[in-house]
């Protein structure tokens, strides 16, 4: 007898049982850190006619430049998630991000092309196009991928694994990375933190930017405590055309300074987390 679709589980790449594996054994971070922290900048461009397409120009003209300056004067490296179309429109900005030593990971081609809405062929083409553009602009092929709006399609992980990508950041489902195998190939999932994200708090939520900061610092306090025995990771995200505006600067610097003031915080990038995971042979 055929079961209805309601009983199918673990059959999609985003529901496969690898994702459901719970890690109980603690890991170690470099230098005995309790928490690994990533500061993410989303640099997007909208090719369609959403209300966001005019304001997304701000990211390349001004926002990423201000954010690079903030990161640099605080002497930390950011994790930049870049749309392929943003790199096409603003190549000098993307080259500068690379030149200053920040991480560049791929964030799909356009902020309003959601992978889960595409056919498998179009989804794959979108991923390959994005990787090609970013490679051409910076001279280095990205090793990490986050899907626009954190919405991968069912084929996304398979394409990434087959392309030899190191990590994916689409899953807001844990406080630590975990490895999956797809099509027999390994891929590291580095969970996304939705909580300290300026689009949710500031732009859509209409909260003051200080709420973004306190969401981050409250989370960091808790993870520093939990991390004494079970080290964890935490991410904070700003968009180049949202808190990359002048209104966000003070709040971002407060968050960075707070993280830097904690003795057991490792401020890093996703790719360095992935390399560490590889080195320690964590699963």
């Amino acid at each position: 007898m055929e079961f209805s679709d309601n009983f199918k589980t673990g059959t999609r790449s985003i529901s496969m049982m690898d994702h459901a594996r719970i890690r109980t054994a603690p890991i170690e971070w470099p230098n005995g850190a309790a928490v690994a922290v990533t500061f993410t900048v989303i640099f997007e461009f909208f090719m369609g006619s959403s209300g966001e397409c005019t304001r997304s120009i701000y990211g390349g003209r001004r926002g990423v430049w201000r954010l690079m300056d903030i990161l640099d004067r605080n002497q930390i490296k950011g994790s930049f998630l870049v749309n392929g179309s943003a790199a096409e429109k603003f190549p000098s900005a993307v080259k500068e991000i690379h030149k200053r030593g920040h991480e560049i990971a791929a964030y799909g081609y356009s902020g309003d092309t959601i992978l889960s809405s595409l056919t498998p062929e179009a989804e794959k083409a979108e991923i390959l196009k994005t990787l090609k553009i970013l490679t051409e602009v910076t001279g280095v092929r990205p090793v990490g991928w986050v899907s626009p709006d954190i919405r991968p399609g069912d084929g996304t992980l398979g394409v990434l694994a087959n392309e030899g990508m190191m990590w994916n950041g689409d899953f807001p489902n844990d406080d630590l990375p975990y490895k999956i195998k797809i099509d027999g190939k390994p891929l590291l999932i580095i969970p996304y933190t939705l909580e300290s994200d300026d689009k949710l708090i500031y732009t859509n939520g209409g909260q003051p930017t200080s709420v973004w900061t306190s969401t981050f610092t409250d989370s960091l306090d808790v993870l520093c405590d939990e991390g004494k025995t079970h080290p964890k990771m935490l991410n904070a995200t700003v968009h180049a055309d949202m808190m990359g505006r002048a209104v966000g600067t003070k709040s971002i610097e407060q968050a960075i300074r707070y993280a830097k003031s904690q003795p057991k915080v490792w401020i890093t990038t996703r790719t360095d987390i992935a390399k560490w995971w590889e080195k320690k042979q964590y699963t």
Partner: protein, 326 residues
């Protein structure tokens, strides 16, 4: 469109008994009502909103070299009043609520700006020229900036045909020119900043020299408008009362806090790269008594620093053209 998603009811002017008959579950469904919407250019067709893929190259040329403001100011600061009016195709809550702008708020804001010798930019829906013409005459006499802001704030320019879009622009500017006693607006901001790939050309053909439709930079830049150019004076919605007070009901002090947060950063940056800041308010929100103290505090705050150019967007656009900036 409105803050509250009330079902549409009432104010279907001229529909009479037929209008009463079209209310089905709070929704307007009859052909007659659709015709009323179509006449206003509202929901009359597919969206013609400009696509990111259609932006001309000028938007992607990054200005790295600093500009200069008059007297070497570090920052240009403007106060923008969204001076709104809703047409008869809106619902029975929005029309009177936005009319607060012209009735009570107008006098309070004019007096406050007068007390501090501030000229503001008034983003004016063309319908105000019909309903409250004296307000525009007074603003013109006082030297405030009159800026076109679509015909009515519940009317879509992007769902209109190109001919309707042109009509909305022309009628707004013509009506404002007549009501103000001869001042034709030189600036434009579409409702919600919405526009099509054709908007800038239509504006330039009607005598407009600047628009703030895009929130795309901290300082102006020139954009093509058919065979002409417009100064794009980028909009800022960060210190904006719809973000703080209107939708989210933060205390009025949140507006002041956002203004200061931006001012401090831009003023510091302005030492080497002169910057620009607007406070953007809606007369029906910040023009209420609840907004006056905080609005006044933003003016006093900006005035407490040296090297601040208190100006209007029209004067910024004229400066940009005079200096031949790109």
């Amino acid at each position: 469109m409105g803050m509250f998603n009330y079902p549409r009811r009432g104010f279907l002017k001229g529909l009479g008994a037929a209008g009463a008959a079209v209310m089905a579950g709070g929704r307007v469904q009859s052909a007659l009502a659709q015709e009323a919407s179509r006449a206003e250019g509202r929901r009359s067709g597919p969206s013609r909103a400009i696509r990111g893929a259609d932006f001309p190259a000028e938007h992607f040329v990054i200005r790295h070299e600093p500009i200069k403001w008059p007297k070497n100011a570090r920052i240009a600061v403007c106060w923008v009043v969204n001076f709104e009016c809703y047409s008869d195709t809106s619902d029975s809550f929005d029309i009177p609520h936005k009319d607060y702008s012209s009735k009570a708020a107008f006098r309070r804001l004019v007096n406050l700006f007068g007390k501090h010798d501030i000229k503001a930019d008034w983003y004016t829906n063309g319908l105000i020229a019909t309903r409250y013409p004296d307000t525009l005459k007074e603003l013109a006499q006082l030297g405030h900036g009159l800026v076109g802001h679509n015909f009515a704030n519940n009317v879509s320019m992007v769902n209109a045909t190109e001919a309707q879009e042109h009509e909305l622009i022309k009628r707004t500017l013509d009506d404002m020119e007549r009501a103000s006693g001869g001042v034709r607006p030189l600036g434009w901001f579409g409702s919600g900043g919405a526009g099509t790939a054709k908007t800038f050309e239509l504006l330039a053909d009607e005598g407009v020299i600047w628009t703030s439709d895009y929130a795309s930079d901290d300082v102006p830049y020139l954009v093509p408008a058919g065979s002409k150019k417009l100064v794009l004076v980028p909009y800022m919605r960060e210190a904006n009362d719809t973000q703080t007070y209107g939708t989210n009901r933060h205390p009025p002090s949140a507006l002041l806090q956002r203004f200061k947060d931006q001012f401090d950063v831009l003023y510091a940056e302005g030492e080497h790269y002169p910057q620009m800041l607007f406070l953007s308010m809606h007369a029906w929100l910040t023009g209420h008594p609840s907004g006056r103290k905080e609005l006044e505090a933003t003016i006093e705050y900006a005035k407490s620093f040296p090297d601040v150019w208190l100006t209007t967007e029209t004067d910024i656009a004229k400066w940009w053209i005079d200096q031949k900036y790109s």
